[in-house]
Amino acid sequence: MYLKQIELNHFRNISAENINFGKQINIIHGRNGQGKTSLLEAVFFLAITKSFRAKSEKIVLQHDKEYLQIAGLFETDKKDAFSVRIFYSVADGKHVFFNQNKIDKFSQLIGKIPVTLLSLEDLELAYGVPANRRKFIDILLSQVSPIYLQALQIYKKALSHRNRLLSLISENKENSSILFPWDEQLVKNGAYIIRLRQKFITFANEKIGDYYRKISFRNEQISIKYKTNVPFEAETGEIENVFKQTLFDNYDADVQRQNTLIGPHRDDLVFFKEGFPLKTYGSQGENKTLLIALKIVESEYLKEQTAENPILLMDDIFGELDNERINNLIQCVIPFGQTLITTTSREKIKGVPEESVRFMEIEQGKVVK
């Protein structure tokens, strides 16, 4: 996927700007607070219809303005052109347009523009809370499969209903015999979720070590484990019956906690280096390298599953990396097509083939060169 041009109005500190991007690597540089990350945020917004850091559209609306607009011109790897426009106003809410046509369900857009984002907040991924790791894998798989997104939505809804019933049961206002319609939907959709997550982890384990070694120059074994409390047999792939039985076995504990303790909403990803969990033993640098490797694997998975190169967004991640690692990293991402990288210092990027890089400097919400 290639984002040719983006037009922004009243988005964060960008009043009105029209920016053309290069087909491969785009380095957006400038001092802090000039709008570099906002630019990446806008690209992410076009693809996912949401910001990766603001909880509501109001926050990304420029101060004192009535509306904001983000419009992008894209070209697929097969050279089909299309446009996406997002319009938000305080009075009228958010509207999404695909080729000028209004989209009723935002979920219809997800997956059309595959994107992977790597930002400083992600650096916590390996050692932060499990919810972040689930969010990571859920965003990825929702882009790969709209059925995954649907299964996830149904699962979450069924879970809320079930938890409500658990509260009522613990207060003796209902009994366990009315749980089964929700359990059945948890099992059916939850099994689908676990299966797709597992499939990605299998893919990632084949690739992540190579990228890690390419960036770090260290010969270390890296692996990821999908940690689930649904103890299914990997060989048979049978999840449904095990999940159903585990839910049943855990019933008393669920009622006591008024919360469902079993299922993919409690699962986690664990990263290992040389067989030891990175969460406890990894250094900052190792975490960063692992994360970059994981994001490249994510891009490769998106490419394989959607037959389209994703747009890679890398937000100010060069901080602690030396020039050699930065170079290795850039070499790794070149085959994936378009990449947008923000950095405070242009000097960090050296020795990259000139024909594949476009530099742009941003100052006070304006591209200055």
Binding site: P146, I147, I154, K157, R162, R164, I178, P181, Q185
Partner: protein
Amino acid sequence: MHTSGLPVLDKLINDFSKLPGIGYKTAQRLALFILKSDSSYVSELADALLSVKENTRLCEQCFNIAEHERCSICADTRRDAGLLCVVEDVVDVMAIEESHEFRGLYHVLGGVISPLAGTMPDDLHLKELAARVQVNGVREVLLAINPSTEGEATMIYISRMLRDSDVRITRIASGVPLGSHLEFLDTATIGRAIQTRRDL
């Protein structure tokens, strides 16, 4: 909020704006229309409003809207009493009736199971459904419930409830709408249509 300066008119506007789909502007227009209309039309309208409340009730068999103990569908002896179509609401009966495709009887649940909204199985006409299936020689129960998470839960509940009876339980198909083009459909709908494909 808004005021026209005439309390009687304000009251009417306010009452109109409680109707579904009616905002303040439309309510104002309706009220002014009433104000300017002939008295005979207005009293006819008022009678119609009262009459619909006073002279209707729920059908004792299927909980559709009825003028008598049984609704016009249940009372129609030409309809197939061996085939029951289960729907959420009266409006769904109307929608299906307009298609003229279904010649059986209905059973209106009055909603779907939704613990978050406080609707439990006992709040719906589910026991009555189980009783009907047992006595009336019903051959098939067709579930025409919206495929939301709550709708699915309700269908799962009903199929378990009727598991031991001899009736065939079916559900309406979901997938590609008539007259639409595959390329414009969302992928989840196409996915569902493929999952529930059938032989030709």
